[in-house]
């Protein structure tokens, strides 16, 4: 039987791989929005007892992760009107290959740990995938906006680990974390705008003056 969670997680992994190779920012943002929705929905299917609080919290998460965060970045793109693509440090095809290798290695490495049996088999791999994709984007993209997207992806990955494992976490705490992430993205968005205004570009090559 095909469990909806399997589908969701597979799609998440796929989307992550896609973002390795994606060169267009709008596409990347859409992928991110999808990930946000998918990731927020996972707790619903894991089969803890449902409370009305839990459901409403899941919905809030979904709105924030799936709509507000991607939208705010999208608005920045709109506002600053990116005309030119910035070449990444590692090319798109090479990124894809590197990404695959990293994900396999990380999944293999995670078996070193004693994983609770109740965990869904795909969960950890997909979380790790998201994490690594995020960090990979952060490290290889010269485009500042892509870096912020990488950060958000990483956060999604951590959220995926968190919601699954930490059953005890109170919703209010979860909400606090979410709020932090949201505020962080907002601030990054503002910084992005300022970068664009100051340098007329979002290439991080401009941001290398402070050094020894």
């Amino acid at each position: 039987m095909i469990h909806p969670i399997d589908t969701a997680l597979s799609l998440v992994i796929l989307s992550a791989l896609f973002s390795f190779a994606s060169s267009r920012l709008p596409g990347l943002i859409k992928v991110l929005a999808f990930q946000g929705v998918a990731v927020s929905l996972v707790p619903l299917f894991i089969g803890h007892e449902m409370t009305s609080g839990g459901v409403s919290f899941t919905l809030t998460t979904m709105i924030i992760r799936g709509v507000i965060i991607p939208l705010s970045i999208y608005l920045v793109i709109k506002k600053v009107a990116i005309r030119r693509e910035v070449e990444p440090i590692i090319g798109y095809h090479a990124s894809l290959l590197a990404g695959l290798v990293l994900i396999v290695a990380a999944t293999y490495g995670s078996h070193k740990f004693n994983i609770p049996s109740s965990t869904h088999p795909l969960l950890l791999p997909s979380a790790i995938t998201l994490l690594i994709t995020g960090i990979f984007l952060l490290m290889t993209r010269r485009n500042a906006i892509a870096m912020v997207l990488g950060y958000i992806m990483m956060e999604n990955g951590i959220y995926l680990v968190g919601t699954t494992f930490s059953v005890r976490a109170h919703h209010i705490v979860e909400f606090g974390i979410l709020l932090d992430v949201l505020a962080g993205v907002m601030i990054m968005a503002i910084i992005l705008q300022n970068i664009k205004q100051t340098f007329d570009d979002v290439d991080t090559a401009h941001l290398r003056t402070l050094k020894e």
């Binding site: 070193k112 960090i135 490290m139 941001l207 290398r208 020894e212």
Partner: protein, 652 residues
Amino acid sequence: MDLFFLSLVIIILGGALPLSIGRRFAAMKTAAVAGIGAGCLLGCIDSGFKLSQTARFSASFDYLKTFSLLFQMDSLSAFFLVIIFAISFVATVYSYHYMNSPGKSFRTSVNYFFFSLLIVSMALVVTAGNMIAFMLSWEIMSLSSFFLVIYNYQTAENRRAGYLYLVFSHIGAMSILTAFGILYGYTGSFGFAGAGSITDTGKILIFIFAFIGFGSKAGVFPFHVWLPHAHPAAPSHISAVMSGVMIKVGVYGILRIYSILHFHTPLFGEMVLIAGMVSGILGVVYALGQSDLKRLLAYSSVENIGIILIGIGIGMIGVSSNQPVMAVLGFAGGLLHVMNHSLFKSLLFLGAGIVLQKTGTRSIEALGGLFKNMKISGATFLIGSLAICGLPPFNGFVGEFLIYLGGFKGVSLEKTSFALSLLGIVSLAVIGGLSLACFSRVVGIVFQGEPRSPAAVGRDEKGPTMLISMLVPAAFCILIGVFPQVFIRSAVKAVSSLELGYGRIPLEPFMEMTGNITRAAMLFLAVLFLVLALRTFLYRNKPVSRSGTWGCGFTQPTVKMQYTGSSYAASILDFFRPVAPRLEDHPLIRGRFPQKTHYRSSIHDIAELHMGNLIIRPILFLFERLHWIQHGDIHLYIGYILLAIIVLLFFV
């Protein structure tokens, strides 16, 4: 409250009061000199009394809930305390007329404040009974003396001096702290009491680190690099205290560590003795090469620390080879030389100070003929010079005599101990000869002959407190030289608290020695009188006239024809060229209408030279190579984070 602490409080008050008086120069100075002087005098009398009574005294204070600050005084501490207070007293009195620029009133008051702090911290260092108290006082001593060094911060040279001093004292303190750390690692207590029972390796390590730390304060070669810069930079009465007293605190540290370790290995003696010989010979060689009067005196301090260490080293070898007489002679000689050196070195610095104040220059090549108008300064300076050369009947001889006796006792030993005693004796002799050359040069160039520049013409020596405070140590130089009994007795008493395991050291053999010295000195004075009488008799009713110096046929002599200080020393320094390279600056004369040319030479200190080449440059180079870490690219910064995680995960 004990008189000791009372005197410290008085000194501190004497230093703090001027800060509040500030701008009223004369009042400020009076308050400072009166306060600090009174405190020093009280402290000196008190500790002298305690030394003669062999009274032990200790006081403990709670500190930050967890520690106790323990201060205790045994005869070793008391011996050093007497020196500290006495010389500080002399220097304080001297400063009244020496600090004579009302425009710098506030700065002078700050100077007095730190001066009082320095005295107090030195007194606390030599009484400190545990690590915390010791480090605390030690660091305050370093810091306060730093401020004294950069009193004249306007010149780049003095700033550099201050910097060097600060860095060296920090490194030294760290080294001492390492030694204490190892000690604590073994005993688990901040006190020094348990140090006797730790392993031998531990003891050796502790001693080596402590020796480096204390040696850098004392100015042992090659850790002396700061000393010839820092001591001249300070005002002269401060130089007198720093050179005369502060570096002795380093010697005190070496002795104290040795006594608490209770470990009588020959290794320590060999180390100290070799360090002493190297410092002694190189110190005086570099002193000979200086043309700056105060720098010369500073290098001579390195030399005298060398002599002191030779004495202590001979003492340690005596202890390790079970020769009580040799041990006591070595230690007592070293300690006596500590006292003697503090007397004549401060006297010489004070003399240099008055020269500096009156002529405005420290370069001996610009001076000359000062004796004619500065009779008292000249005479006291001459006495100081004779004493520092270790000539009888002055005090320098007495200390060296004891060290010699100790060293000759070591001649009867075997192998290494014999060889080292032999080397110690010969180097003492060489040091003696070299310092004679060095100080005959100073006296001859600065005080005698004719003025070499207008700066030295027609100077007076006004300033009664300056003269008095030079006369007092000069008198003591002769007093100790002729009647050393009391002083040798105190030195032996101080040795007895080193806990060498000899119990009470009998004083009789030393008293016989003292008697000999006294008799010999008296004999000399008697013969001197007789010959003087003879001379007076011969000159009775004889025509005596004055005329110019015989120019060997040359009839138009100028003052520039006089022998210079550097040419005086040149041939001796050539002998030592491998360790004292000379740098010459002499553009050749070229062309039909040659430019004006000049000749400049300076003697370089190899420790300083190699410190730059072998230590500082590689460190700078290495760290500069690492600058790429902070290259400004955020991607790699994130990479660092990832790298840290990945590496650490391997260890999970």
